[in-house]
Symmetry: C2
């Protein structure tokens, strides 16, 4: 830990809530002498000094130089090891707004705290054994989650589900390694009743390797939930793109954009389908925009479609397929990201019904007017984003670091399997198993270096 | 209180921090049964139920329908009357980010809380006698303060300075009213030794009226600190506007823009001079912008200058005044918002010095290169914003409601003074004094109606 760029001895302070105008702001402090230093800038010094852990003291933060009151606050006192960081800690609940936060932070700095680096509180929690690295990373993932589902997957990791899964995989590797090392330390002629038996079961190694690989592969799903998938609406003019766009927005799924006001541009919007965040682009918007150069609009449309993880191609059921549609669809033939929609089925002049036989193969019939076909579309969207199997496990990773380490472990286990198959010398198998074990130890932080920690925690927000 | 559009019986919940991504978010609840309802959505139910006031309990918020964990939180328990609202209250410190906050709020609503209306927590604090109206309004003013000085003035009001001042003025009115009413109730012939003496001292009424008027007038200063003053840099091309703009930004005063990233447009920026927020416009930027139609740029320049509370007009000391300068300056002749600057004094070819006699009357010599003249400029800016007297009292109002009521009281007192001067019948004086008293009672909330309260608290942010 000695090369860590964070000095874990310093008392630190940081704003843990946002800078925007709000009722309350929380300023966190931590360090061995955090309570005494906090008392130095607090009106009710003895109250703070004598406060039990997990209690709240009312008072004013004072400027330690002038003694002037800088804000009215509640101070929550936490005593080691029962705190987030495992150190003594005081959290100030002060008024929201930039000036209130600025003056309190400034008083704390005059009082002996330094600004915390990104992720420094969580890093101290890790260093002090409060969290393993999978949980520490989950803290960041929870905060940056885009949808309730992504949040729930990260909360599951924070609760230790991933740590347990890794520990279980590690135990299985360790059992194999033990039996191999036993034979390496005590060659078979010294052991009773094991003569000639190769200590690794090929099938068991293969199963373990598959389990590790499956967890590594869950990164794809994790990333879908974390970053979302760009989905483009395409089709000829008047094929019903804008109506479908509006239908998808209306369906109470646009949680992110509703709350956050991210949708400034009318041609794109975040929606959530079965917990998956989708960034929906209406390429019609691009073409019909005020851009005077129409060619530019078409070019941008093309780029959106090229980059889209999902393409919803609409064909007007009343007009049917034409040459332009066929050219477009042929180009994307066989791509899993393509969803074909037979739109405006409500407009077919057939006494309100439509003939299912007339829907071309692979097309989903849909009406943005009546909502018919919406359930099938949702299913298709989820499949295009996550694959046919969908999310088949509640333990999913969304950290590239974890994915790379799991991949390293899976590769090492695959080599172990080959060695077992060939009944190769045990040294080689032992080396691979040790590598798999190291990789997994690095995931939970059992094995860690200053570089690894700096890398992980520097991505965090300040105050976490 | 019965017509209040807020129902003070309901258990309420609201996010008290911002929606943006952050380490921690705080969700406030309040209501007679808030602790029991909170226990209903909390993993450690008995811990919460038995928690003493001012203590913190660790646990998970659960979805009351599925029992699933929705976030890991700390729950701070406050018991009536020792809480912000004066009711039982639980504050949840959950993870920041939209999904975490959304799922916790949703669990609380399923658990029996309703969304709090803007300012509803503070309104309950007022209704329950925790705060008078001047302090309640200060809560909002603290949060929306733009600079540390504005925050400090609002904190002073929150600490009760304005309430005390109003109480003192009210006491003086009440004393006068008592002596008048004594004579009305017991005509002079019934009282000993007071025959023929008019019960009001003209000078005392005049002094009281002046004190009330001064407090009403402090609204101007309060508004300057709260809203800031638009200040425009004007002058011919190359008169040094951009250099001065940069100098003023560099001088460690741009606290708001630094933190908040408000300065997206290079032609304007918030700066703070002697605690006064100034929104500085460089009209040079307007003219030299990429706008292809130069006339449009000049028109916008003109509008900025017309709306500016302060105009800094620069004349290049090397070139001196020309016809264009004189035309501009003549138009603003005598306006207090005009500050004339004799700029680039460092460039005068006079061995580095400049001849003070050559500076035209009323101009401040300044060099953006050396910083010479900056102190005088700051003084002039503060005077232009606040007047020559500056801020001569630590008790300042920035609420238009308070200003209007104080003005009503001052007018009533002025009429009382006239009545006293003319030794008019006492009924008229008594009526005016009662009106002054009512107006001041309305300021602190001693007298209040549902309309008044709805008006005040609907401006607050949610969660406050």
């Amino acid at each position: 830990m000695k090369e860590l760029s964070y000095n874990t001895e310093d008392p630190i302070a940081a704003l843990a809530t946002g800078w925007e105008e709000s009722a309350i702001a929380v300023i966190r402090t931590s360090g061995t002498d955090a309570i005494e230093l906090a008392a130095g800038v607090f009106s009710n010094k003895d109250g703070l000094r004598s406060a039990e852990g997990g209690t709240i003291v009312y008072g004013y933060v004072l400027d330690p130089e002038t003694g002037a009151r800088v804000d009215e606050v509640l101070a929550a006192v936490f005593r080691a090891p029962r705190s987030y960081t495992g150190e003594d800690s005081v959290e100030f609940f002060c008024h929201g707004g930039i000036p209130a936060v600025s003056v309190v932070l400034s008083a704390l700095k005059k009082g002996g705290f330094r600004d915390a680096a990104p992720g420094e509180f969580t890093m101290r929690a890790f260093v002090n054994g409060k969290l393993d690295l999978t949980r520490a990373e989950a803290v960041h993932e929870i905060v940056t989650a885009k949808t309730a589902k992504a949040h729930s997957l990260a909360l599951n990791r924070l609760s230790g589900a991933l740590e347990l899964r890794i520990e279980d995989l590690k135990r299985r590797v360790l059992d194999m390694l033990s039996s191999v090392e036993l034979l390496l330390d005590y060659p078979e002629d010294e052991l009773d009743g094991q003569a000639g038996e190769y200590p690794l079961d090929v099938q068991a190694v293969e199963n373990l390797c598959a389990d590790v690989q499956r967890l590594a592969d869950s990164f794809k799903a994790g990333k879908v939930f974390r970053d979302g998938v760009p989905a483009a609406l395409a089709g000829r003019t008047n094929s019903g793109k804008s109506s479908l766009f509006n239908l998808l927005l209306r369906e109470d799924r646009a949680i992110v954009s509703e709350i956050h006001g991210t949708t400034r541009d009318y041609i794109e919007s975040w929606i959530t389908v079965k917990g998956i965040p989708l960034r929906l682009f209406d390429t019609a918007g691009l073409r019909n925009s005020d851009n005077p150069i129409e060619a530019e609009g078409i070019k941008r449309s093309g780029e959106v479609i090229a980059d889209a993880g999902i393409i919803l191609y609409l064909v007007d059921a009343v007009c049917g397929l034409n040459e332009e549609d066929r050219t477009f669809l042929d180009r994307l033939q066989g791509e899993e990201r393509l969803i074909r929609l037979w739109s405006k089925i409500d407009a077919i002049p057939n006494e309100g019904a439509y003939d299912e036989d007339q829907v071309p193969d692979g097309f989903i019939p849909i009406s943005s007017l009546t909502g018919e076909g919406l359930a099938e579309l949702e299913k298709a969207l989820a499949e295009a984003a996550l694959g046919k199997k969908g999310l088949d496990d509640t333990v999913v990773i969304d950290s590239m670091r974890q994915r790379d380490l799991l991949q390293r472990a899976a590769t090492a286990l695959d080599k172990t399997r080959s060695a077992a198959e060939e009944q190769a010398p045990l040294d080689a198998a032992a080396m691979e198993l040790r590598d798999a074990l190291d990789a997994m130890g690095e995931i939970t932080g059992e094995v860690s270096s200053a570089d690894i920690l700096n890398n992980i925690f520097s991505n965090f927000c300040v105050g976490k």
